[in-house]
């Protein structure tokens, strides 16, 4: 337990975080490219067209991983919010803050690709069905979080207010997930299941899983890089920041 607490505290130190994130980010980038490049190949070339939807089904390999990411990132933000409220850990707040714009972008991507897929298949860019509406609410939650936290000048008050908003919004996640079962929606129910047999052929499951792993690694890469920049910004008058800047300047030709 003591070792765990010590580990927890070290991650709370800005300088330690700056060093560690600098070491971890390239690995996340490597894992991203290792999954994204074959993922892109299998999405566009290496998988068959759908027998009903033809080539338009390829939108799925962006749409579904993006939608999964939108919920995953919101979950991370809510968890970080809980840690912020309980242990007042600054790093948790930074993770939540830098996650919000990426989460909003993935939600936006899921909505736009869904719309682009819906037009040829359903005949409409948008319908007010439960799945689409609850995902749109998720976008508003992300945007609301960003607006709220950036409008409060005091960082600790902003962190607390953001954490409360993130936690309250969690109620939307099961609504999104079960919307296709609870209501009669135009959106299809889940095809890929964690428990039980998935109703998707392996040739389509492979690109789908590759892309969703790629997006996960990408998110880890971006969070590390963004939090790294944020930590440096908050601590720019500290001695360690000066040392880092000087070492960097020494490397660059003047």
């Amino acid at each position: 337990m003591n070792r765990f607490v010590a580990w927890f505290h070290r991650w709370g130190s800005p300088k330690h975080f700056y060093d560690m994130s600098g070491r971890w980010a390239p690995w996340m980038a490597a894992l991203f490219f290792l999954t994204f490049i074959p993922g892109l190949y299998y999405s566009l070339i290496g998988s068959p067209p759908d027998y009903q939807q033809g080539e338009s089904a390829r939108i799925m390999y962006i749409h579904v991983p993006a939608a999964w990411m939108s919920m995953f990132i919101y979950g991370v933000m809510a968890l970080a919010g809980a840690i912020t409220l309980i242990w007042k850990m600054k790093m948790a707040d930074i993770v939540a803050q830098v996650s919000a714009p990426i989460g909003a972008s993935f939600t936006f991507l899921a909505l736009v690709t869904g719309s682009l897929w819906g037009k040829p298949m359903w005949g409409a860019y948008w319908v007010w069905d439960a799945r689409l509406t609850s995902e749109l609410i998720l976008l508003f939650l992300f945007l609301g979080y960003i607006a709220l936290t950036t409008s409060i000048d005091d960082k600790r008050t902003a962190a607390r207010a953001g954490a409360v908003l993130a936690l309250v919004g969690v109620v939307n996640l099961p609504i999104i997930h079960y919307s296709v079962e609870w209501w009669s929606t135009l959106h299809q129910p889940s095809t890929v299941k964690v428990m039980g047999k998935s109703a998707i052929h392996l040739s389509m499951l492979i690109p789908l899983l590759l892309m969703s792993f790629a997006f996960k690694f990408y998110y880890a890469w971006v969070v590390l890089s963004s939090a790294r920049a944020e930590v440096l910004d908050r601590d720019k008058n500290a001695k360690w920041a000066a040392d880092v800047a000087q070492a960097q300047a020494g490397e660059m030709p003047s």
């Binding site: 566009l44 070339i45 067209p49 033809g54 080539e55 338009s56 390829r58 939108i59 962006i62 749409h63 993006a66 830098v98 714009p101 990426i102 972008s105 993935f106 936006f108 991507l109 736009v112 690709t113 682009l116 897929w117 037009k119 040829p120 990408y218 890469w221 971006v222 890089s225 963004s226 790294r228 920049a229 440096l232 910004d233 720019k236 920041a241 000066a242 880092v244 800047a245 000087q246 960097q248 300047a249």
Partner: protein
């Protein structure tokens, strides 16, 4: 090749989906990288200015004495 780009007639729906995805991926990783670089050069500039000011103050002290 043309067949690939036409996406069975769904090019107008498939390519914008992948395009937007790519734009989002590039934007979110470029922004923190550029921000950190800007911060580091800003800090280095501040340090140089402080060092110059300190050196000037020291030489002024020297001329007074």
């Amino acid at each position: 090749m043309n067949e690939f780009f036409s996406m069975g007639g769904y090019a107008a729906f498939v390519w914008p989906s992948y395009g937007l995805g790519l734009v989002i991926l590039i934007a979110h990783i470029a922004a923190p990288t550029m921000r950190r670089r800007r911060l580091l050069s800003e800090i280095a500039r501040c340090l140089r200015r402080e060092a110059r000011a300190a050196a000037k103050a020291e030489s002024n002290e020297g001329s007074k004495a």
